[in-house]
Symmetry: C2
Amino acid sequence: MKKLEEYIKANGQIISDDILKVDNFLNQLVDVNLLSEMAHTWYEEFKNQGVNKILTIEASGIAIATMVASVFKVPLLFAKKSKTTNMSNNLYQAKVFSFTHQKENVIAVDKSYLTKDDKVLIIDDFLANGQAVLGLMELARQAGANVIGVGIAIEKGFQKAGDMLRSKGFNIKSLAIIDKMDPSSKEIIFR
Amino acid sequence: MKKLEEYIKANGQIISDDILKVDNFLNQLVDVNLLSEMAHTWYEEFKNQGVNKILTIEASGIAIATMVASVFKVPLLFAKKSKTTNMSNNLYQAKVFSFTHQKENVIAVDKSYLTKDDKVLIIDDFLANGQAVLGLMELARQAGANVIGVGIAIEKGFQKAGDMLRSKGFNIKSLAIIDKMDPSSKEIIFR
């Protein structure tokens, strides 16, 4: 998506060769006009596939996924994070390792909110090592729900999780795929 | 707002005489049609007051505030929570005590995202003891920003923070105010 790439070039901060900060339009201060265009792009990709629920993970996925749910006119479901598993019988749970924070979180959704009748579109802000998306897919698997596809704002193409998921047959629609970024020259190469 | 009161009566779970669970339409599974109606209600209240930024706190405020920002066509800013203050010079920070989790969080926004030129509408899902709203107001105060008003989905009227803030002259627009709820009879009395 050209506009997202332009936003990244104009506003993104390359912290290191694998960390990109987009707090100023996507992750803390959020440009809702951009979100709306992003949501419509995913809608064009997935609109004829019976999506009936948008699934994301707190906290940074929620704003994007809310706009997507609004365009699809279906409910939004967000998995909650906790540091420990509470072993509730009423939760689907999956472990997600955060490389950013170097700790393992358990993500969970209430069993009554995700069922075998659901056709889910997973939405998240970043795809790097794929831990969050794999955790959300695991929740869907436990529920017997069908994952129609995955919408990602920014994929770090050099970290390979996107290619790995595509090779398994998943429809991963990333709006910007970064193949390389250089903190000294500030250059970003999109796929 | 009649529709929100009806949703609360039909779907809310009264856990105790001061805890109401609305995970099934507002706080985990999110009904975006309801959010849209809520956002338009706040828009009617605040549309002529120059609001140029919507301010909330992660995580449960984000979905609601995203929809509000979309209706106002202004950016969304969400304060981040952390357990410790990192004393960054680039952050406005405030302490917020969570009675639900019995711990103190520090909430923070990057200084460049909130300025003295901002006219802020604060949005949150619940108003009970007022800690979150007071924390967000404190961030605005540090930035010199003007708080135009506060939009709350569900106010626990029996916990008095709403009345305290109104007595100080703030425009608090709660869409449903619960004056009493009874976990045994399941009765909810709205103001």
